[in-house]
């Protein structure tokens, strides 16, 4: 179920509660982001701003500059494979590669995935599938022409 204001935390983000305690809203992560996908927005009316990625508008391409630069440890330096931002889910009822009748090879998500070949693989050589190596950067959700991909943010899972 796509959430209207779904957002991701930057790669290497500390658990949600710790991130909010550590982040001093200095915006250094936003300044170094090579793809301009980070935004500082308040979590509620009076709370300080924390970094977010509105991946439907511009996803994270895992350049990992933000997590290297964070001075307070709200984001930790990690390799791209351990970004831990969430997990993508592919709706095979929507994905055109899974529809027998139309004979289309889309592969857009597979080709754009920063961890191509590990996070998204081609099942049987032609059907994209998300593996547990997915870090939830949101690129596939952003590029999918039929909106068959949804990323479940890691912070949302931890909040339950």
């Amino acid at each position: 179920m796509p959430l209207p204001f779904s957002f991701l935390r930057p790669p290497g983000a500390a658990p949600e509660k710790e991130l909010r305690a550590r982040c001093v809203s200095c915006g250094q992560c936003v300044a170094v982001c090579a793809f301009r996908c980070l935004e500082m927005t308040p979590d509620s009316l009076l709370s300080p701003d924390t970094p977010k990625i509105f991946h439907r508008r511009s996803p994270c391409f895992l350049c990992m500059k933000c997590s290297d630069i964070c001075p307070t440890g709200a984001l930790r330096p990690v390799p791209a494979e351990k970004a831990g931002m969430g997990m993508a889910y592919l709706d095979i009822k929507r994905c055109v590669d899974y529809q027998e009748e139309n004979h289309i090879m889309c592969w857009t998500c597979y080709e754009r995935c920063p961890l191509r070949g590990t996070a998204i693989v081609l099942q049987n050589g032609y059907r994209p599938a998300v593996t547990d190596k997915c870090v939830g950067c949101g690129v596939c959700e952003y590029v999918c022409p039929v909106k068959a991909v949804t990323v479940l943010p890691a912070w949302r899972r931890g909040e339950k």
């Binding site: 500390a14 509660k17 710790e18 909010r20 305690a21 550590r22 982040c23 001093v24 809203s25 200095c26 915006g27 250094q28 936003v30 300044a31 170094v32 090579a34 301009r36 935004e39 500082m40 927005t41 308040p42 009076l46 709370s47 300080p48 701003d49 924390t50 630069i69 001075p71 307070t72 440890g73």
Partner: protein, 285 residues
């Protein structure tokens, strides 16, 4: 002619205020020599941080080496050079001072001479400086306790006026969004303009407390008074009426030291007189 402290200070303040407009634009062009804001800043790899912001993350039990180093650097600067952040750098302080000066000039237009300050008034000012400092300490410590026990994040950062200034510019330039909370800055300036007092810097600013404590180190740069050179008698106290924070520069007490920002307005006022007030690292014998 030698330039006044005020002139140098204004250049520095305007430069900083403009720099924090330019930095986000440079960042957008991928020039990241300088980035960050007044809460935490990165100067070509050298970290600088608001000590109170870092103290709050510490209080929550989450220390981080880089921000600790940044806070240490800020505290070291105020240890050596006094509270120059407040008077030479802080953009809120700059706006507040400009409004204060404009208000003072307008009020004084009728009077031919600056108001003489009686000694009872000087005593009252001393008390008022103590109250103002105490109030700032109270705000900062209450806030710290709240962060420690109730609040999930560093909420005192929401009371950082320079923080709001730089954050609003950052967000406006990076994402084209107006940070609504930053409106507290013009509101506070309006209150100061109406009252003719520097309310925030004197009474409320919690960020100034830690650097004021560091600046009270006796061997740092301070305005020193040598009574022998003082040529103003009686109620004629140009230094006292020059001070926008209503401190008595002639009294070198702890209260005055905690309130003084090393702005040098009193030094400028004294320059035409006996030059009894000077910046120095050690007390005059």
């Amino acid at each position: 002619m030698k330039t006044t402290v005020l002139f140098q200070r204004r250049c520095c303040q305007i430069g900083t205020a403009l720099a924090f407009i330019a930095i986000p634009f440079l960042n957008l062009r991928n020039i990241t020599v300088l980035f960050g804001n007044f809460l935490s800043f990165n100067m070509a790899g050298l970290p600088l941080a608001d000590p109170l912001a870092v103290l709050q993350t510490l209080a929550a039990g989450f220390p981080a080496f880089v921000s600790l180093a940044g806070a240490g650097a800020s505290l070291l600067i105020s240890l050596v050079l006094g509270r120059i952040f407040c008077s030479w750098i802080c953009p809120y302080g700059f706006f507040s001072e400009i409004l204060h000066t404009l208000g003072k000039n307008r009020r004084r237009k009728g009077a031919a001479l600056p108001d003489p300050v009686s000694s009872s008034q000087a005593g009252r000012l001393k008390n008022s400086a103590a109250h103002a400092s105490a109030c700032r300490f109270f705000v900062a410590s209450t806030g710290m306790l709240a962060v420690l026990f109730f609040l999930p994040g560093p909420f005192l950062n929401q009371l950082s006026m320079p923080g709001w200034y730089s954050r609003a510019l950052q967000q406006g330039i990076f994402s084209g969004v107006l940070l609504v909370g930053a409106l507290c800055l013009p509101c506070m300036l309006f209150l100061e303009a109406v009252s003719g007092k520097r309310l925030w810097c004197r009474w409320l600013c919690p960020q100034s407390v830690l650097i004021a404590l560091a600046a009270s180190f006796p061997r740092g740069l301070k305005v020193r008074f040598s009574p022998k050179k003082c040529s103003c008698g009686g109620n004629d106290r140009p230094c006292l009426s020059a001070c926008s924070l209503e401190i008595n520069p002639r009294a070198e007490t702890t209260v005055q030291r905690l309130a003084c920002t090393n702005c040098g307005d009193c030094v400028d006022a004294c320059r035409g007189r006996g030059k009894a007030l000077t910046f120095s690292f050690r007390a005059d014998q």
